[in-house]
Symmetry: C2
DNA sequence: ATTTTCCTTTACGTAAACGTCAACCTTGAT
DNA sequence: ATCAAGGTTGACGTTTACGTAAAGGAAAAT
């Protein structure tokens, strides 16, 4: 194995820009135990692993995970290699619950998508009607003016 | 048309039970303009329309909509029948943004589902290994005892 | 009659996830 | 040398979505 490839690093503002969050957010996530950047003096140096975690945290947020939940999943996943039976069973339990959540969300989304489509059609229809009415008004005005 | 069919009504606690929320939540939603129950004296009487709105609000929440966003969608949808062109265009804009959000969420979910499956497999593997190890330990103990 | 039961309003409390200063290094450019 | 750009640690403020407790009305059961 080659453990000697130099991995890229990132500054806090680079990550902030890439993921469109503030540096405050990134520091807050560290404070909550989601990130663990190295230090060079005082300055934080982020590894690809940190970057992935940030990415996952943000995706988790979009899906309604709290920061605490994301942290729990990270921690469990990390300890999976040396976890004892009880921990592993607990993790499997959590995973199956999350999967159930995701199935629920999937169905929520699909239904909402349909409804948004319906609303859009209805809205388009209304728009056409408004425009037809306004055209009539305009032509009436024309006749007045002409 | 028959407008005279008697629609069912619901008490606040009936709705609370059905949707597994507190009455506090339901009153709060009303305060935020999401529900508009009739009154019988002081007591709130909920119509099927209120019930649907509650349902939609809760589904919205599961998908990361704020109460204000849900309210905006409700209000716009209600005013769609008599909306002017500007409003309709605005609504169409919102709708297309929401649809983009939903597409993003859909892809987020699908990726997360894959990852959860991978994590689950990995976890199952680890579990098997732990159990094999523990079996060996146990049989060693057996030999000591026997 | 009185005690539950269900409902009401008012109002203060709270947790999560940051925003927003303030006050301070450090380091490369001018 | 100084100054702007980016980094740091507090620490208090803010918004959202309710929780929780107080104080009480009305009606139904015992």
């Amino acid at each position: 194995m080659n453990n000697k490839v130099k991995l890229p690093t990132y500054s806090i503002s680079e990550l902030a820009k890439e993921f469109e969050v503030t540096t405050r957010t990134i520091r807050f996530y560290e404070q909550q135990g989601l990130l663990n950047p190295a230090r060079q003096g005082q300055t934080r140096i982020y590894s690809p692993k940190d970057r992935v975690r940030l990415m996952l945290t943000l995706r988790g947020k979009r899906l309604g995970f709290s920061l605490a939940e994301s942290k729990e999943l990270f921690d469990m996943y990390d300890s999976t290699t040396q976890g004892n039976e009880k921990q592993l069973l607990y993790m499997l339990d959590i995973l199956s619950k999350k999967q159930a959540d995701m199935r629920q969300q999937l169905s929520d989304i699909q239904r909402l998508q349909e409804e948004l489509n319906i609303a859009e059609s209805r809205c388009q229809d209304a728009l056409v009607k408004v425009r037809q009415r306004d055209e009539k008004k305009a032509s009436t005005q024309q006749r007045k003016v002409g």
